[in-house]
Point group: C2
Chain length 228, copies 2
DNA sequence: GGCGGGATTATGTGCAGACATATTTGTGTA
DNA sequence: TACACAAATATGTCTGCACATAATCCCGCC
């Protein structure tokens, strides 16, 4: 037990792991713990707040702090820009724009972006590759209205990077799933249609207008890893 | 701007979103901001720390605080117990143990758990269902040595729930991928072998001994959703 | 010009005290 | 018994101050 609030956090976690404080049990008050550890209440509070943020503890005013009954595993997933992900694997990144044309979106896309009927979006298809081999097949629908008049050329810079640089700090949601390769995916990856692919779908918003919906089909065998 | 550190966080975020402070730009010091907002430095620090935790800001001692150059999207993923996930969808949960026998693990599993050669694990196969329809096909390798002498019966209670209740707060890693349904998966779900399935693989550790490796094959069409 | 080392500085952490807020708990009343 | 209300209490937040720590800056020296 060296020092600081992280030491307190570690010690509390240890007591939980050794079941000195079992699931559902109430642990001493901040005040009591601060006396035990010989520090200020704020310091204990910092440690406990951190453990609550990771789902180990549950805290309620007046009710006190207790060990979470069923530990909700909360993992933070970092979603990198594709270029970074490739380069971090020590491979060289390349990007190619395959198609770029205005089109009315299919119904599921229009619904997701909550677009009025008849809206026309910019439809992009591009291929991200690592060391020359296809890595991700991107299928993107972009709302021109959300771009503020600009109509960037995505031949050189990927839409992914342009958006990160020019429309950062947006909100949205993301979904993971598995799907069989479509005709386009199969052609891009050089595989049979129907081959299982890992799919990431992302919808991005500014305050209230939809910016883009993108579907990323990862190369066969791709695994998204994270630590609990 | 109502009150408290959350108001400060909101205001700082607003200035970033309106590009008053562009990507890479340094923002005023805590001291300057505390004067501007008319509050203590600690309060500003709380707000900025929170924004740094979500990847919007980057902070370094002496160097100051700046807007993240490439906003790393950090999403927190909550991994629920399977029963909870099913019940939250308003469906009734059921569980069935299909097989339970000691077996030497296949090489990839042994490597992942860093087991000595010749170790024998408990191999479980079970099916989680929602409203009577197969939901998840579970294939688990359990290290008896890590269970501390106990040999629970998993016919009634799923290994998932037993572990959460009896060996909580462990570490591990998790991976998402897509794979074609194997013979077992296909039989359980009543689908053709090779149908794309969403796969979650998890490895769990206590301090230094491997507890379990589990592969969850989700029903066809399953989507894992999260908010950014 | 290049380099090393100390002064400077912004964040990180800590303390003690105060008040705010949400619950729970206990009490008195209908 | 049931219910409304008040007291008690643990956490949530804020202030103001202090010192620690890690970069950076800058000055003097070679």
């Amino acid at each position: 037990m060296s020092h600081g609030w992280e030491a307190i956090r570690a010690d509390v976690l240890r007591r939980i792991q050794t079941r000195e404080w079992g699931p559902g049990a109430a642990i001493p008050t901040e005040e009591a713990l601060s006396r035990e550890f010989g520090c200020a209440r704020a310091t204990v509070g910092r440690a406990l707040r951190d453990l609550a943020a990771t789902g180990v503890l549950e805290r309620r005013r007046k009710a006190g702090t207790r060990v979470a009954m069923r530990p909700v595993r909360r993992a933070t997933l970092e979603i990198p820009v594709i270029r970074q992900e490739v380069e971090r694997r020590g491979q060289t990144y390349a990007y190619r724009l395959l198609a770029d044309a205005p089109e009315p979106p299919p119904l599921p896309v229009a619904l997701r972006l909550r677009l009025p009927a008849g809206a026309v979006l910019r439809h992009l298809t591009c291929l991200h590759s690592a060391d020359g081999r296809p890595f991700i097949c991107e299928d993107r629908w972009l709302n021109p209205a959300a771009l503020g008049g600009q109509q960037p050329d995505f031949a050189a810079q990927s839409a992914n990077e342009w958006l990160v640089a020019n429309m950062p700090y947006t909100a949205g949601d993301i979904a993971f799933s598995a799907a069989g390769a479509g005709a386009d995916d199969a052609a891009a990856f050089g595989i049979d249609p129907g081959t299982p692919l890992f799919i990431v779908e992302r919808t991005t918003w500014t305050a209230d207008t939809a910016i883009t919906f993108v579907r990323l089909a990862y190369m066969p065998g791709y695994r998204l890893r994270m630590t609990l």
